[in-house]
């Protein structure tokens, strides 16, 4: 096959024909992360900004005792000297102190730990309940599906915050007002959402040819659900989970703000701190509310960007790949160009 006039492929072009396949170790891993490397333009920026912000807060959460200058409920130095109340930012307290005489910076840092603890726990719980229910409801359909659907729709229609408040209020007698209560109250809000998304997805997958093929060769429903349906549904989970995590941070803060979240003696919580700071606003004290508030905005933005970016990157419908120009060999006059 002599084609002397074809240019040598350069770094930016490749010859027409199937893409070169390279054997790699960690093939699955590579395939999982390939969309990230291929993302270009806005999705690339969005996803990496999200990753950066989220990682920052996870590091804060993991190492908060090492990073924070004081403990979250510490109101005096090791020598027993009480911190000043509502002191403006200084070198000893870079973010100032609040009405409880605790260090605002330390509370913001420990707040990251609380937020991430609660969110991870609540997402785990709501997924553990919502996912299987959605799988079964979508796959088997029938009466179970209809009953669950009406039930979950009723829950979705209801203002989620009011629901969470009531649940937190009822649980506080049993579990106290700590991370567990808050996480459970929040997860109740998100169970219907996981259920809804998973169920709808399962219903569309159920009719796919490969599921039918699996059924035709005699696979049990368990196997079909586990190997064929679940594998496909699970792809959407990271996106939903990240977006729900962003929302859960807001719900947690709202619970704390209303006084039904985590008590200040249990852990540092941003929403509670802002509630205490509202009365400071009238006195012109800005540092007690600004920093926890900015922490919420930043973390929620980070998680939203991550979720949106993941969606742009993973979802094949939305994905825009880098356009690689393809050079065809020049046409030859005698017509047997493709020999």
């Amino acid at each position: 096959m002599a084609m002397p006039s074809v240019e040598e492929p350069t770094a930016n072009t490749r010859p027409a024909g199937p893409a070169p396949v390279r054997a790699r170790r960690f093939r699955t891993l590579h395939r999982m992360f390939a969309p990230f490397a291929e993302a270009r333009g806005m999705p690339r920026f969005v996803v990496w900004a999200g990753v950066a912000i989220t990682t920052f807060f996870i590091v804060l959460a993991l190492f908060s005792p090492a990073i924070a200058p004081y403990d979250f409920d510490q109101y005096r130095t090791a020598d027993g000297v009480r911190f000043a109340k509502q002191e403006a930012p200084s070198s000893a307290h870079p973010f100032g102190t609040n009405v409880m005489s605790t260090d605002v910076l330390s509370r913001v840092i420990f707040g990251a730990r609380t937020a991430i603890e609660v969110v991870v726990l609540s997402i785990f719980v709501s997924m553990a309940i919502g996912l299987p229910l959605g799988l079964m409801s979508g796959y088997f359909g029938g009466k179970l599906d209809r009953i669950l659907l009406v039930f979950m729709d009723a829950l979705i229609a209801f203002p989620s915050l009011l629901f969470a408040i009531v649940i937190a209020f009822l649980l506080s007698d049993t579990f106290g007002r700590g991370v567990t209560t808050a996480a459970l109250a929040i997860s109740v809000v998100y169970i219907p959402q996981y259920f809804r998304v998973v169920r709808n997805h399962v219903i569309s997958i159920r009719e796919e040819a490969y599921v039918e093929a699996a059924r035709a060769i005699g696979a049990r429903p368990r196997t079909v659900i586990r190997r064929y349906v679940f594998q496909n549904v699970v792809q959407n989970v990271p996106v939903i989970a990240t977006l729900n995590a962003a929302d859960a941070i807001l719900t947690l803060a709202a619970l704390g703000f209303l006084g039904y979240g985590i008590q200040p003696t249990e852990a540092a919580e941003w929403g509670y701190d802002i509630q205490r700071a509202i009365s400071d606003a009238g006195a012109g004290i800005w540092w007690t509310g600004l920093f926890p508030g900015c922490a919420i905005v930043l973390l929620v933005t980070g998680l939203t960007l991550l979720g949106e970016g993941l969606n742009d990157v993973i979802n094949p419908v939305l994905r825009r790949r880098r356009i690689i120009p393809v050079r065809f060999p020049p046409l030859r006059r005698n017509g047997n160009a493709d020999e």
Binding site: M42, V150, F151, D153, A154, L155, A157, F158, P159, S160, L161, L162, I165, V166, I167, F169, L170, D173, A246, L250, A253, A254, F257, L258, G259, Y260, G271, I274, Q275, A277, I278, A281, G282, A283, G284, W286, G289, L290, G293, I296, V297, L298, V300, T301, T304, L305, E308
Partner: protein
């Protein structure tokens, strides 16, 4: 649902029929949640303050010594006749709480919704029209960041900047004490009341009080609309009839604002309905932040006092309103866009 049920009436009837089981489930859930709580309502609210005999007498009077099933049927009957009981801590009929404080919430949420739609539609349109430019990026980022900001944090900032530093607006309550005292309240909507009585200074005062809470709540809800309008406009601009309009040489401006605009807005109506629940959640927080005497701050107050009857009444009422609104929005949607009536 029949395949050809295209008439508006048939659609509405089906929709109402579907709403009834939903309402029943919600009511049942509220009832049993409130009963799962340890102790009965009377001893939860008044326990420790009254003698045991007095507690027992009040409990029997209110019917809490009867079997749960009887109480449940009773509760459904009460709800059907719009009787939500009487609060325990201050002996107000819950209906009165709903009428008086609900009006405050209505005033706040309606204004907030207007602001949300205004902000959301205008920014969304501009962002969608100039897709993938820096304007679009700024609009999207604004939408994401504003959505990420808790309502009470924006409220804190607004109080700090516009209340304390600039001193432009009051940061607490619905009106100044004198106005509240002097204003004749017929509808409990202070704007309407002050217009009816022709009290213009009162109207100005009421509006000044409304600015910060409504803007803060409106901005947060508006974040959702920005995104929605942008995406819809982009979709609509891909339509054949838009291409046709462009081909006829119509100016781009006119294409966007006359041809695409209205069609891009149809889904916004649906989302207004979906946002209603978010709006109510936001209202609870906004009311707490600005000492707004609405139904949300009353709910929190009664929760703090462990007044189960009041809480149950308010939550039940909210549930009914939510379902009513969702049916109404679906109806409007079907009326505007015939494709919805499948």
């Amino acid at each position: 649902m029949a395949k050809q049920s295209t008439s508006l009436r048939a659609y509405l009837l089906t929709r109402i029929a579907l709403a009834i089981p939903m309402l029943l489930i919600l009511l049942t859930l509220v009832f049993f949640l409130m009963r799962v709580a340890p102790g009965d309502p009377i001893s939860a609210a008044l326990g420790g303050r009254l003698t045991q005999e007095e507690l027992d007498r009040r409990r029997a009077e209110a019917g809490y010594d009867r079997p749960l099933a009887v109480q449940y049927v009773d509760y459904l009957g009460d709800v059907a006749t719009l009787n939500f009981g009487e609060t325990i801590v201050d002996n107000r009929p819950v209906t009165e709480v709903i009428v008086q404080n609900g009006a405050a919430t209505l005033e706040l949420t309606l204004t907030a919704m207007l602001i949300a739609v205004g902000v959301g539609v205008s920014i969304g349109l501009v962002a969608g029209r100039h897709r993938d430019t820096s304007v679009d990026f700024a609009g999207r980022m604004f939408g994401i960041v504003i959505y990420a900001a808790p309502v009470f944090f924006l409220g804190f900032l607004a109080q700090l900047v516009f209340g304390k530093w600039l001193g432009w607006f009051p940061t607490s309550g619905r009106a100044s004490p004198i106005v509240t005292f002097e204003l004749e309240t017929k509808t409990n909507l202070f704007i309407v009341d002050s217009i009816i009585s022709g009290n213009w200074s009162a109207l100005a005062d009421v509006l000044r009080h409304l600015v910060l809470p409504a803007t803060v709540l409106g901005l947060v809800i508006g974040g959702v609309f920005i995104r929605l309008v942008r995406v819809n406009l982009i979709q609509t601009l891909k339509g054949d009839y838009i291409e046709a309009a462009r081909a006829r040489g119509i100016e781009e401006r006119s294409v966007v604002y006359h041809h695409a605009f209205k069609n891009a807005l149809v889904p916004v109506i649906t989302v207004i309905g979906l946002q209603f629940a978010l709006l109510l959640s936001g209202a609870v927080l906004t009311e707490q932040t600005f000492n707004w005497p609405g139904i949300g701050s009353e709910l929190v107050r009664y929760l703090d006092n462990r007044d189960y009857i009041a809480v149950q009444g308010i939550i039940t009422f909210t549930g009914i309103v939510v379902i009513f609104v969702s049916v109404f929005i679906d109806f409007v949607n079907a009326w505007v866009d015939p494709r919805v009536r499948y």
